[in-house]
């Protein structure tokens, strides 16, 4: 397939991207970005060195091979630190933007957060959030005014040449034709612009459309996969007939999250949770305790308190991803049309193939959230990224044959199973004969003391062989069942039956409901202020109250805070249940402490009586 055909195919299914009002960065040409950058290198234990200054870098220079020591990081710098320093004051920012805006530029619509993320989550998460914010004091991070400088620099590029461009690639893998739409953004201002988790220069996001190809060469869209933070697998994928997948003609609609540029299928506000890896073992222990509580003790457990993998949600920091879709829309027939795309294949551009460094500022953040990403082909460590070399597996589609191949795959699988079954049956026959022979020899040896060793050896071998034959028969039985199911599935396929469109999704991100978003302003204020007020009250009580009343005062104030919190969040039932069960645990410990031996005696007595009753009951039958 030639590049023209690839481009035509890409343009036929190119997405419609809906942004949130107030978003400042849109998909752009990566080469123009490179020309606006400087190139730097940081070798282990050394200060960063500028290799190519601002205004001198070209995609060709970027692609030049660079040999260096292990641990060396090459990175681009989009913003000029000197310019960024001058943009700390809002007035200076406005002036710089006015100067940059010589023509049409990015949207000037203002973002309004609405109900904050803190009002949507509990106390522990809010305390964790405070701690996470404090970690920025110790971690490397993108300086405060860099986002403003990035905006000015991006506005200059747009003023020079307004364009909204994606980078396209067509890949054929496992029977699928994958249309890759790579979106490059000059800046991720999620933290500074939209109360998110991080800021970084440069952002590569992607939307893949999976086509099946008929023998006559016709293409049918079957699936889409949108990149969303670090998620991978089935959760990213939607079938073309899924009602959640909005389309404009043949163009899938992407709702781009403000700042983070994560992609969503439906408009709305999404709660995205950042997992703290150092608390993972504690979270797993709590998850195990919760499973014991629910499954062994048959007690009720709150589904909202844990996530899809069973770990408690309290150890994750929540952030809101605003994918409202009420801002600029880019796509065929929309506010802005896509500029003709840059193709990333046949051949791969040198800057994509040879430059393995970061595409923006390297902050040395140990969590990597503030470091710029690498290019479309690579991970930050320079290894080739899975979406590039395995776009089918990245979306969990490697186990799904294209529709045209499904029936054939089922038949092949059934044939393979039947062949295996025939082989196993032959083996069973052979082993059975051997088993019978051994059995006869064992019977013959009985009653002859001098054949004791032979008798015992035969018995051992009979046991082993019998176990093996049993395993083989179980496999044959399972294969027979599987073969029948495959036949049934093939029949359903012949009748045109398909699996439900969302059968592959175990956990789908959902936007916050209207009810949740309608919470009062008072609840938001409470959420923002309560953690701080609670700490101040505790400190005041500790300094003011002494002796026996301190514990009561602290307990009372905690209870009051929790009660108000539960009221705001509509979780009084949960609070009452937790408090009562907590008291029940304390009371149980008191009983065990006071009556340990009596409890042991009663337990043994009850056990004895039960055994007696059970045995006597058997005698009466």
């Amino acid at each position: 397939m030639g590049p023209e055909t690839d481009e035509a195919l890409l343009r036929r299914f190119e997405p419609v991207a809906r942004f949130t009002k107030g978003d400042r960065f849109f998909p752009m040409d990566a080469e123009r970005y490179v020309r606006a950058c400087s190139l730097w290198v940081r070798r282990p234990g050394e200060e960063a060195v500028c290799l190519v200054p601002h205004g001198k870098l070209t995609p060709g220079l970027l692609a030049e091979p660079r040999r260096d020591d292990f641990g060396t990081v090459h990175y681009l710098m989009f913003t000029d630190p000197k310019e960024a320093k001058g943009l700390v004051r809002p007035r200076a920012r406005r002036k710089a933007l006015r100067e940059a805006l010589q023509g049409p530029g990015p949207t000037e619509e203002v973002f309004k957060a609405g109900r904050g993320r803190l009002a949507r989550v509990g106390y522990v998460s809010r305390v964790m959030d405070t701690l996470f914010t404090l970690t920025f004091l110790a971690r490397g991070r993108v300086p405060g005014s860099t986002a403003a400088a990035g905006r000015v620099a991006y506005t200059r590029i747009l003023a020079d040449h307004e364009h909204y461009r994606y980078h396209g690639r067509v890949v054929r893998q496992s029977g699928w034709v994958v249309l890759q739409y790579w979106f490059f953004y000059a800046f991720n201002d999620w933290r500074s612009g939209f109360f998110g988790a991080n800021d970084h220069e440069a952002d590569w996001e992607k939307v893949f459309v999976y086509l099946s190809e008929s023998p006559s060469g016709e293409y049918t869209p079957e699936w889409t996969a949108y990149s969303s933070h670090n998620y991978a697998g089935d959760v990213l994928r939607r079938r073309w007939d899924d009602p959640e997948l909005e389309k404009v003609g043949e163009h899938p609609v992407v709702h781009v999250c403000a700042g983070s540029h994560s992609n969503q299928y439906a408009p709305g506000e999404y709660l995205t949770e950042l997992e703290l890896s150092f608390l993972a073992s504690l979270a797993r222990m709590l998850g195990a305790a919760r499973t014991f509580w629910r499954e062994r003790l048959r007690q009720y457990g709150d589904d909202e308190a844990e996530r899809e993998d069973g770990t408690p949600a309290i150890f994750r920091i929540p952030f809101v991803d605003y994918a409202r879709g009420d801002g600029l829309t880019i796509g065929p027939g929309q506010d802005k049309e896509w500029t003709p795309p840059v193709l990333l294949d046949n051949p791969i551009p040198d800057w994509a193939l040879h430059y393995r460094g970061l595409w923006g500022l390297y902050t040395r953040d140990p969590f990597e959230g503030e470091d710029a990403p690498a290019g479309p082909m690579y991970n930050r460590d320079g290894s080739v990224a899975r979406p590039w070399y395995d776009p089918v597996g990245w979306a969990g589609l490697d186990k799904v044959p294209p529709p045209i191949e499904t029936l054939r795959t089922v038949k092949e699988q059934k044939a393979a199973i039947e062949a295996r079954r025939a082989m196993l049956e032959a083996k069973i026959e052979e082993k059975s004969c051997e088993l019978k022979g051994l059995g006869v020899e064992t019977l013959a040896a009985r009653g002859h003391p001098h054949l004791r060793a032979l008798h015992e050896d035969h018995r051992r071998r009979i046991g082993e062989l019998s176990e093996e034959v049993n395993r083989l028969r179980a496999s044959v039985a399972a294969d027979r069942v599987l073969s029948n199911f495959l036949e049934g599935y093939a029949q359903r396929l012949r009748e045109g039956d398909r699996e439900p469109a969302r059968a592959h999704i175990s956990y789908a991100q959902q936007p916050a409901s209207e009810t949740k978003l309608r919470a009062s302003r008072l609840a938001e204020v409470w959420a923002a202020a309560s953690v701080g007020i609670m700490l101040i009250v505790f400190l005041w009580l500790a300094l003011d109250e002494r002796g026996e009343y301190l514990v009561f005062a602290l307990s009372g104030s905690i209870a009051l805070f929790l009660f108000v919190e539960a009221g705001f969040r509509g979780r009084l039932i949960r609070l009452v249940t937790s408090a009562t069960l907590g008291l029940a645990v304390v009371a149980a410990l008191v009983l065990v402490y006071e009556f340990f031996w009596q409890i042991v005696v009663v337990a043994v007595l009850v056990l004895g009586l039960y055994v007696l009753w059970d045995n006597l009951r058997e005698l009466r039958r």
Binding site: Y300, S513, L583, A584, V586, A587
Partner: protein, 166 residues
Amino acid sequence: MAELAGSRSSWPVRANGLLLVLQAAGLGGIGAYEVYRVDWQQVEADLSLLPETLDLPETVVLPETVEGAEHAVVTVLVFAPPTVLALLAALGFLFLLRAGWLLAMIVQGLSLLACLLLYSAWTPMFIYPVMLYCIVMALYLNSSDVRAAFHVGQRTGLPQVATRGP
């Protein structure tokens, strides 16, 4: 108040109602017994011998009768709210109101709190059976079967999350 739907014939509803009536009777009985066994005339006489101040120094030892009366009053005070609420919860079950479950759970919490308070004060013996009863009741009320019967914590309108497919 929301009514329970389809639980008229559910036996956990009836069992809980009965257990709550029993609990109310027990707690009320304990309070009544504590009040009954105090010789209030003697208490009055002993009190008249004490200095007329509310802020007694710690060195003053109260007579046994006065201390017993104090215990009886505290017991009644801490057990009265759960007793009343237990009756209300039982009525809630009788009229198949969903709030009955929440009231019943609050009763267990208050009763346990009262017992722990008394345990930390003068440790009367009656608190142990009450604690045991409340522990069993709390676990029973929180069991999946009972909560399902009362539709407590059952959310509707959740996003459709299908089972894992291929």
